[in-house]
C-alpha cells in the first residue's frame, strides 16, 4: 500500500508558467486565500548564474536552462519541451503585441471561424494589467488598428539606427510600422534595470530586463503568499459530491514516486498551456466521466490553434550595421484588418535588421579559399548593401479535429498515456492557404521593389507558432470547455486559464493575450474568496 500525503489550500494552481504566475500574483494581492502551486518540473537557476549560462549557450549551444524538461512528458511536434518553474516563458522572446479587435469576432465580421464569448473591449483593461505586470515598453500605433484604453507603462524601446532606415523603407511601400511592444524595460522598472541590448532575449536575458515568471514567483514564494511544490506531477483530478466538484488533484512527487500526494482545495486552476491542460482533463477520465473531465461537449483537446508564417530576406541598397539590436523589430497591424470584400487573409508584419548575406565567407566567387586579410577584404566588399528580414504570421481558422489525443502507445512511468498532437486547418483556411502565402509574398516583393531591392530568399514555416486551444471558451458546453471566465461548464470549482482557453490564434505573438485572459479569469476565481484589507 502506497503512502499518502495530503496538502490543503483554498486554491490549487496546476502549472507554474506565465499565466499561472499572473493568476497567483493577482489572487495573492487581492484575496485572502491560501494558494498552492504544483509544478512537474524543476526550479531554474537563479539570475546570478544567467550571465555564465548565456555565455555557455553562445559558446557551445549549451542550454542555459538545465533540466527544464521532464521525460517522457512531450508530444510529437510540441512547440517546446519546457516543463519547469516559469515554463516556456523562461526563454520566450518577450514580444507582446495585442490581438486585433477583429480576432474576437471573425464569424460576425467575416463569416469564418467562431466568435469569442468576449470582445476586445472586454479584454482591454486586462491587456493593460498584463502590460503593467509584465513591464511592457511600447509605442502607440495608429488608433484605428491599435486601440487601447491606457498608455503603455513604459516608453517604447527606441528604434535603432538600422530600424529607423528600415521604417523609412517600409514607408515607401505605404506600410506604416512602429516599435514592437515588448516585455523588456526601456527604463528602470519595478526593480528591473533598463535593457542594455545584450540581444539574447531568446533564450536568455542575462540582466532580467526581459520579464520572466521567476520575477513573479520569487517574491511570492519568499513572502509565503504562495506555496510551490516542484517536481510534482498531477496525474488526475478527482470528482466527488454535488455539483460535480473537484475534490482533489492526485499527484506523484518525482523524488518519492511510491508516495501519493493529494492536493485538496476549494478551487482548482489548470494552467498547463495548450498541451498539458487538455491532457490532464482527458487523463482524469473514469467513473461517470469516461471521456475525461469538463468534456460533456466532447471538446477537450479540440480546436488547437496557432499561426504559420511566411518570411523573406530582402537585399536593399542601404548601409546598415547588423548587431545594434537584432531581436528588436518593427511591426504593423494594418494587415490584421481584412479589407471589405476581400478573401479572408489577415496577417501581421514585422521587419528586423539582418546579417544574412553579409557574413564572412571562406571562398570567393571564383572558389578561391579566403584566409586572413583576403577574407576581410572580401567581407568588406559585400557590406555596402543591407539585408532586411521580413515575416508575416497569418491567421488560421482551426478545425474541430485540430486536436490533442491520448497516445496509449507511449506512457509515463505511472502508466498515464502521453499526448499526441495534430494541427488541422478549417476548410476555409486550408483552401485559402496558397492564396494567403502568395499574397504575403507579393507584399514582400512590392516592398522590395519600393526600396530598389530584391528578395534573397523566402520560405514558410510549416508548424503553427504560439499554439493555443484545447480547452477553448464558449457560450455553453456545446461550443466550449470553459465559459468566458475560464470556469468549466461541467465542474463549478474547476477553471482552466490562459493559452488553452483561446478560441483562435490570431496572427501575432500571443503570450500577452494569454496573460490578459488569465488575469480576467483570475478576477472570477477570486470572487469565491474575501478581499484583502
Amino acid at each position: 500500500m502506497s503512502a499518502r500525503r495530503v496538502v490543503e489550500s483554498d486554491v490549487c494552481i496546476i502549472g507554474s508558467g506565465i499565466t499561472a504566475a499572473m493568476v497567483a500574483a493577482k489572487l495573492a494581492e487581492e484575496r485572502n486565500a491560501s494558494i498552492v502551486v504544483v509544478e512537474a518540473g524543476d526550479d531554474q537557476p537563479p539570475m546570478d548564474q544567467w550571465a555564465m549560462n548565456r555565455k555557455r549557450w553562445m559558446d557551445y549551444g549549451e542550454t542555459p536552462w538545465p533540466d527544464d524538461h521532464v521525460e517522457p512528458y512531450y508530444a510529437n511536434g510540441i512547440q517546446s519541451r519546457s516543463m519547469c518553474v516559469g515554463g516556456l516563458a523562461m526563454h520566450w522572446g518577450g514580444v507582446t503585441p495585442r490581438f486585433a479587435p477583429e480576432d474576437f469576432k471573425t464569424k460576425s465580421l467575416c463569416g469564418v471561424g467562431h466568435d469569442w464569448p468576449i470582445s476586445y473591449e472586454d479584454l482591454d483593461p486586462h491587456y493593460h494589467e498584463a502590460e503593467v505586470r509584465l513591464g511592457v515598453s511600447g509605442e502607440q500605433g495608429p488608433r484605428d488598428v491599435d486601440p487601447r484604453g491606457n498608455p503603455f507603462p513604459m516608453p517604447p524601446l527606441p528604434l535603432t539606427y538600422n530600424l529607423t532606415l528600415l521604417q523609412q523603407w517600409a514607408g515607401k511601400a505605404e506600410v506604416e510600422m512602429w516599435s514592437q511592444p515588448s516585455a523588456k524595460t526601456s527604463v528602470p522598472y519595478h526593480g528591473r534595470g533598463a535593457c542594455c541590448r545584450n540581444d539574447t532575449c531568446f533564450p536568455i536575458c542575462p540582466v532580467g530586463a526581459k520579464y520572466s515568471p521567476d520575477q513573479t514567483w520569487n517574491p511570492l514564494r519568499a513572502s509565503r503568499r504562495v506555496e510551490m511544490h516542484v517536481r510534482t506531477i498531477v496525474r488526475k483530478l478527482v470528482v466527488d459530491g454535488p455539483g460535480d466538484r473537484i475534490v482533489a488533484a492526485v499527484a506523484v512527487q518525482r523524488d518519492r514516486p511510491a508516495e501519493v500526494v493529494e492536493f485538496r482545495a476549494k478551487t482548482f486552476v489548470v494552467a498547463g498551456g495548450y498541451v498539458w491542460s487538455a491532457h490532464l482533463l482527458l487523463n482524469s477520465r473514469g467513473g461517470r466521466f469516461p471521456d475525461g473531465l469538463a468534456n460533456r461537449g466532447g471538446l477537450v483537446g479540440k480546436y488547437l490553434t496557432g499561426h504559420r508564417n511566411v518570411q523573406a530576406y530582402v537585399d536593399l541598397p542601404l548601409q546598415l550595421y547588423p548587431g545594434i539590436n537584432e531581436q528588436h523589430s518593427l511591426v504593423t497591424k494594418q494587415f490584421m484588418r481584412r479589407p471589405a470584400g476581400d478573401k479572408y487573409v489577415r496577417h501581421d508584419l514585422r521587419v528586423w535588421e539582418s546579417a544574412v548575406g553579409r557574413e564572412a565567407r571562406l571562398r570567393d566567387d571564383g572558389g578561391k579559399l579566403l584566409l586572413g586579410d583576403a577574407l576581410l577584404k572580401d567581407w568588406r566588399s559585400r557590406l555596402g548593401r543591407a539585408t532586411a528580414r521580413v515575416r508575416a504570421y497569418y491567421d488560421i481558422i482551426p478545425a474541430r479535429e485540430s486536436e490533442l489525443t491520448l497516445d496509449a502507445a507511449r506512457t509515463s512511468p505511472w502508466g498515464d498515456p502521453m499526448p499526441s498532437l495534430a494541427f488541422r486547418d478549417d476548410p476555409v483556411s486550408r483552401d485559402l492557404r496558397g492564396y494567403t502565402e502568395d499574397s504575403i509574398r507579393a507584399l514582400f516583393e512590392r516592398m522590395a521593389r519600393a526600396g530598389n531591392g530584391r528578395i534573397i530568399r523566402s520560405g514558410v514555416d510549416n508548424f503553427q507558432d504560439h499554439p493555443a486551444g484545447g480547452c477553448r471558451m464558449g457560450t455553453d458546453a456545446s461550443t466550449g470547455v470553459v465559459d468566458s471566465h475560464g470556469r468549466t461548464f461541467d465542474h463549478e470549482n474547476l477553471f482552466v486559464v490562459g493559452a488553452a482557453t483561446a478560441v483562435s490564434g490570431s496572427c501575432a505573438n500571443a503570450t500577452l493575450t494569454f496573460c490578459a485572459l488569465a488575469l480576467r479569469q483570475a478576477d472570477e476565481i477570486g470572487r469565491a474568496f474575501p478581499k484583502r484589507a
Binding site: 557551445y60 549551444g61 537584432e326 571562406l362 508548424f463
Partner: protein, 206 residues
C-alpha cells in the same frame, strides 16, 4: 572529456613537434596555468592564428582572439545538453570533443612545414604558414559558408570561425564599434555606431 594516458601522450608529442622544443613533463603543468587542453593553448595556437586571422587585427587583437579560442577549447563540454529547439521534441547534445583531431592537424602542419621549409611550423614566415594552412584546408572546406566551431573540419577553420563569430570581427569588418551581444546603453541604439580606427586591434570592446 575523458583524458586517457594514450591521448595525453599523443597530444604531448604533437605539441613538442609543433613548438620544436623539448618535451615537457606531462605531469608538471606550469604553475598557475589555466585548465586547458594540452597542446591547444595560446602558445601552440599563436602561430596558426597569425596565419589565418586578418593582420589588421594587430598583435594585440590576434593574441586576444587566440586566447579566447584556447579558452573555448578548454571549456568544451562533451555531450552537454543543447538548448531544445522550438517545434521539436528532440533533445540534442554537443558532439565529442574535437581536440584530439585538431591536435593531430597541428602536428600534420608541423610535418608539412618541416618537409617544405626545413623548420617547424612556428618558425616559418607568416606567408609560408598561410600557404601551408591553405593547402591543408582547401580539400576539406566545402562551399563558402563558415562552419560552426566545433564542427570545423580543421583546427585552422575552427580558430577562424571562432573569431568571425565574435564582436571584434563584426567591428573589424564594419570599422564601427557595433559590439553585437555586448551590454550597451539602450539610448545609444538610434545612433550610427562610432567609427573605430583602422589597425587599432579592431577596437573590440569586450
Amino acid at each position: 572529456m575523458t583524458l586517457t594516458r594514450r591521448v595525453f601522450l599523443k597530444w604531448s608529442a604533437a605539441v613538442s613537434a609543433w613548438l620544436g622544443t623539448p618535451r615537457r613533463s606531462a605531469a608538471a603543468p606550469a604553475r598557475g596555468a589555466q585548465p586547458r587542453a594540452p597542446g591547444l593553448g595560446p602558445r601552440e595556437l599563436g602561430p596558426l592564428a597569425e596565419a589565418v586571422l586578418p593582420a589588421e587585427l594587430g598583435a594585440a587583437g590576434i593574441e586576444r582572439a587566440t586566447n579566447e579560442f584556447a579558452a573555448w577549447i578548454a571549456g568544451y563540454p562533451d555531450h552537454a545538453e543543447l538548448l531544445h529547439p522550438y517545434g521539436s521534441d528532440r533533445i540534442g547534445h554537443t558532439a565529442p570533443s574535437p581536440v584530439a583531431r585538431w591536435t593531430q592537424q597541428l602536428a600534420d602542419l608541423d610535418a608539412a612545414a618541416r618537409a617544405a621549409h626545413g623548420r617547424p611550423f612556428g618558425a616559418c614566415t607568416i606567408s609560408q604558414r598561410t600557404a601551408l594552412v591553405a593547402a591543408a584546408v582547401d580539400p576539406l572546406q566545402r562551399g563558402t559558408r563558415v562552419p560552426g566551431v566545433a564542427g570545423a573540419p580543421h583546427v585552422a577553420l575552427a580558430l577562424l570561425a571562432h573569431f568571425l563569430d565574435s564582436p571584434a570581427a563584426t567591428n573589424l569588418a564594419y570599422e564601427r564599434a557595433i559590439d553585437p551581444r555586448q551590454c550597451r546603453p539602450l539610448a545609444a541604439s538610434p545612433q550610427i555606431p562610432a567609427p573605430i580606427r583602422r589597425g587599432s586591434g579592431a577596437g573590440a570592446s569586450q
